[in-house]
C-alpha cells in the first residue's frame, strides 16, 4: 500500500516537474492577444465598430467588451479570421455597424473644394494633403476608404471610388469539381 502511494506520488512529482519545465522552456513565443487581434483588423480606422479606431476595437474584443462582428470593412472573412483566432463561432456582421462594401478610396473634386481643412482633421491616417483656402487632395495609396471625410465636407465634394487596377490582377477562383472537396 505505502509502496503504491510512494510510487504514484513519485510518478506524479516527476511528471509535474517535467510539465513545469516544458511549460517554461518550450513555450511558443506569441504576441499579446491584442496585437494578434489588431493584425486581423483591416486598419481602416473608420470607427464603424463604435470605437475610435482598430486598435481600441481590438482592445475591447480582447477585454470581452465587444463582439467580433462589428467591423464592416473586415467583412465576413475578417469575422471568420477573428473567430478562428479566438476559438469562437463566427457571427453574421452586425448591420447596425454598417454593410460590407468593396474597398474604395476617397477622391476630392478639386474644382469644388473650398479648402476648409475639415476633411484633413477628420482623416484618421493623415492621407489628405492641403491647407486653409488651398485645394485639398487625397493620397490614394494611403487612403483606407474609411469615409470619415465625407460628413464634414461642407460642399460634398468628396466621393468614394473603387480603383479598377485591382480587378485586372485578381483572377477568378477556379470552379470546384463535383467530386472534389
Amino acid at each position: 500500500m505505502s509502496l503504491a502511494i510512494f510510487s504514484i506520488g513519485l510518478l506524479g512529482t516527476v511528471c509535474g516537474l517535467g510539465l513545469g519545465w516544458a511549460a517554461k522552456s518550450l513555450r511558443a513565443e506569441t504576441d499579446p492577444i491584442v496585437d494578434r487581434i489588431d493584425r486581423l483588423l483591416p486598419q481602416t480606422q473608420c470607427g464603424k465598430c463604435n470605437f475610435k479606431g482598430c486598435r481600441p476595437y481590438a482592445e475591447a474584443i480582447a477585454a470581452g467588451q465587444a463582439e467580433i462582428n462589428q467591423c464592416p470593412p473586415g467583412g465576413e472573412a475578417g469575422i471568420r479570421a477573428l473567430a478562428d483566432l479566438l476559438g469562437r463561432e463566427p457571427l453574421p456582421l452586425n448591420p447596425a455597424n454598417g454593410l460590407e462594401k468593396p474597398a474604395a478610396v476617397a477622391v476630392i473634386d478639386e474644382l469644388v473644394c473650398i479648402g476648409c481643412t475639415l476633411c484633413i482633421e477628420a482623416c484618421p491616417v493623415d492621407a489628405i494633403l492641403g491647407a486653409t483656402k488651398q485645394m485639398h487632395t487625397v493620397i490614394a495609396a494611403e487612403c483606407t476608404g474609411c469615409e470619415l471625410c465625407l460628413p464634414p465636407c461642407p460642399v460634398d465634394c468628396i466621393v468614394m471610388e473603387i480603383p479598377e487596377a485591382i480587378d485586372r490582377r485578381r483572377r477568378p477562383r477556379p470552379a470546384l469539381a463535383a467530386g472534389a472537396s
Binding site: Q45, G53, V125, A178
Partner: protein, 508 residues
C-alpha cells in the same frame, strides 16, 4: 552572390546539365515550318493597346484625327526606362477607345485605333551608324525609345533588363533560341531566315551590357538553324560567340531552366540571373535590337506562328502590332470546321481568347487554334489520389498536390512557404495529373491572391503606422496645449498675486 557561383556561371555552355522534371512533348512544329515567313497585308484598322506589359497604361501623345507616320510614337509610358508605343504603319488616328485587349484577364483596355493610309511611309529613321564605338548608355536609350521588349512572351522592357544587367556586371549573354512550347516556331523561322540579324543583335546587346561572351542556345532538333547560325557567326567574325544545342525537353526554354542546363546553377530564391553575371534574351528580341540600332526602326511588327488543327494552312507570318487576329487566320486560309479554341501562346502556358477580334501584341509569339479533339474539355475533375506524378515533373521541385490543397483551403501563407512563388506556371503538373485537377490555374489564382494579400497587408500596416503616428501627435498636441494653458494660468496667478489686477482668459 558567391564568387564560386559566378565563376561556374562563367563556364556556361561548356558542359550541359539537367533540370528536374520536365516533359518530352510532341513538338508539332513541322506544320508551320514548311514555308517561309510571309507578311500579312495591312488590315483596314489597327488596334494598338496602350497596356503592353505589367504596369500602368501608356499616355496617348496624339489625338483623334491626327496623321502619323510609321514608327512615330503615339503614346509614352510614364515610368522611367520604358519608352513609347509606336504607330505600326502610316495613317490617321481613328479613335482612342476602350476595348477588349489581348490580356489573360479578358478585360478592356485603352487602345489607339489607327486607320492606315496604305502608303506604309516610315517616319525619319535615325540609324546609329557607329554603334560599335557608341556609349553603351546611348544604345540602352535607343532600345528604350524603340519600345523593345522581350519577345519570348514575358515582354519585359529590354532597356530595363539591360540597365539592371549593367548594374550587376554581366559576363555572359545568353540568347534563348530554345522555343519552350510545342507548336511555336516563330523563333526557329527567324533564326533560319535572318541569322545575320540575330547575330548582329547579339553583338549589340553584348556591347550594351559589356558581356565577355555570348551563348546562343538552340534545341538539338533545329538542324537548319544550327548551320545557318554557324555560318552567320563565322561571317560576323566574332570569337566570343558560341552556339550550344540543348535537349528538346519542355520547359527547357524557360529562363531558369535554360540557365540551369547551361551552368548547372539554380537562381537562388529571390535573386535574378544578373546576380550570377548572366543575362538572358530571346533571339527575336536580339533581331529587334539590331533593327532598332542599325536601322533606327522601332518595334512595330513581329513574327507570329499561326498554327494548330483549327487553321487550314499553318504559317509563320510577319504581322504589324495591332493587326486583328482574324486577319492573320484569314491569311492562313481561315479556320477548319472544327476550330474550337483560340490560344495566344503555346498549348501549355498560353491563354484562351474568347474572340479573334483581339489585336496582335508584342507578346504574341503564337496564335494557336485547337480543335475539339485537341482539348477534350469534357474530362471531369477527380479528387487528388496523391500519385506524385506532378512532383516528378515539376521543374521547380515543388509538391503541386500540397500547394493545390493549401490554395483551395485559402492557406496562402503556407502555400507561399511551400514555394508557390517559385512556380513558373509551366503546366507540366497539370498535364500529367490523372485526376485532371486544373493545378496550373489554381497556382495562378493562388499567386494573384497572395500578391493581393501582401499588398493589403502592407497597406494595412501603413495605415496602422499612420494612425498610431497621428494618435501620438494628437496626444502630444493635447499635452502641449494643456501645459501651455497650465503655464499661462500659473503666470496669471503669479501676476494677480503681484499686481492684484485681473486679466482676460488667453486664447490658449
Amino acid at each position: 552572390m558567391q564568387d564560386s557561383a559566378v565563376e561556374r556561371a562563367r563556364n556556361a555552355g561548356k558542359r550541359l546539365f539537367h533540370f528536374h522534371g520536365g516533359l518530352r512533348l510532341h513538338h508539332h512544329k513541322q506544320a508551320s515550318c514548311q514555308v517561309a515567313v510571309q507578311s500579312v497585308a495591312i488590315p483596314p484598322r489597327l488596334y494598338i493597346p496602350l497596356m503592353q506589359h505589367a504596369g500602368p497604361e501608356a499616355t496617348p501623345l496624339v489625338g483623334t484625327g491626327a496623321h502619323v507616320l510609321k514608327g512615330e510614337p503615339v503614346a509614352r509610358f510614364n515610368e522611367p526606362s520604358i519608352g513609347y508605343v509606336h504607330a505600326p504603319t502610316s495613317g490617321t488616328i481613328a479613335a482612342i477607345a476602350r476595348q477588349a485587349i489581348t490580356h489573360p484577364s479578358g478585360l478592356e483596355g485603352l487602345c489607339v485605333v489607327l486607320k492606315p493610309d496604305g502608303l506604309d511611309r516610315w517616319t525619319r529613321l535615325q540609324p546609329m551608324e557607329h554603334w560599335q564605338s557608341a556609349d553603351p548608355e546611348l544604345i540602352r536609350q535607343r532600345l528604350c525609345e524603340s519600345g523593345i521588349v522581350g519577345l519570348g512572351g514575358a515582354v519585359f522592357p529590354t532597356s530595363r533588363k539591360v540597365e539592371e544587367a549593367r548594374n550587376f556586371g554581366i559576363h555572359t549573354l545568353i540568347l534563348n533560341g530554345a522555343e519552350c512550347e510545342p507548336y511555336i516556331s516563330c523563333d526557329e523561322m527567324l533564326m533560319r531566315e535572318q541569322p545575320d540579324k540575330v547575330v548582329l543583335g547579339a553583338l549589340i546587346l553584348q556591347k550594351a551590357v559589356a558581356a565577355e561572351q555570348v551563348i546562343i542556345a538552340i534545341e538539338d532538333q533545329m538542324e537548319e538553324v544550327f548551320s545557318a547560325l554557324q555560318a552567320a557567326i563565322s561571317n560576323a567574325d566574332c570569337t566570343h560567340m558560341r552556339l550550344v544545342k540543348v535537349r528538346t525537353i519542355y520547359p527547357e526554354g524557360g529562363e531558369k531552366q535554360l540557365i540551369q542546363v547551361l551552368t548547372g546553377l539554380e537562381i537562388p530564391a529571390g535573386c535574378r540571373p544578373p546576380e550570377l553575371g548572366l543575362l538572358c534574351q530571346n533571339v527575336a528580341t536580339a533581331a529587334a535590337v539590331a533593327e532598332a540600332v542599325t536601322e533606327g526602326k522601332p518595334l512595330v511588327q513581329r513574327i507570329v506562328t499561326v498554327t494548330g488543327n483549327g487553321v487550314k494552312r499553318p504559317h509563320n507570318l510577319l504581322a504589324l502590332i495591332g493587326t486583328p487576329i482574324s486577319t492573320l487566320v484569314d491569311a492562313c486560309g481561315g479556320y477548319t470546321h472544327d476550330a474550337a479554341r483560340l490560344v495566344l501562346g503555346g498549348p501549355l502556358m498560353g491563354y484562351a481568347l474568347a474572340s479573334d477580334q483581339n489585336p496582335v501584341i508584342k507578346a504574341a509569339n503564337c496564335i494557336l487554334v485547337l480543335s475539339n479533339r485537341d482539348i477534350q474539355s469534357d474530362q471531369a475533375e477527380m479528387p487528388c489520389i496523391r500519385c506524385g506524378e506532378c512532383a516528378r515533373v515539376c521543374p521547380a521541385l515543388l509538391l503541386p498536390q500540397t500547394l493545390n490543397w493549401q490554395i483551395r483551403n485559402d492557406l496562402l501563407d503556407d502555400a507561399s512557404d511551400s514555394g508557390l512563388g517559385e512556380c513558373i506556371e509551366c503546366g507540366c503538373c497539370d498535364y500529367v495529373c490523372p485526376s485532371h485537377i486544373p493545378l496550373a490555374e489554381w497556382f495562378r489564382f493562388g499567386k494573384s491572391e497572395h500578391q493581393l494579400l501582401a499588398m493589403e497587408r502592407s497597406q494595412s500596416n501603413l495605415a496602422r503606422d499612420r494612425y498610431l503616428a497621428r494618435e501620438a501627435r494628437l496626444e502630444q498636441l493635447k499635452q502641449d496645449r494643456e501645459r501651455r494653458l497650465g503655464e499661462k494660468k500659473q503666470a496669471l496667478r503669479d501676476r494677480t498675486s503681484v499686481t492684484g489686477g485681473t486679466m482676460g482668459q488667453g486664447p490658449a
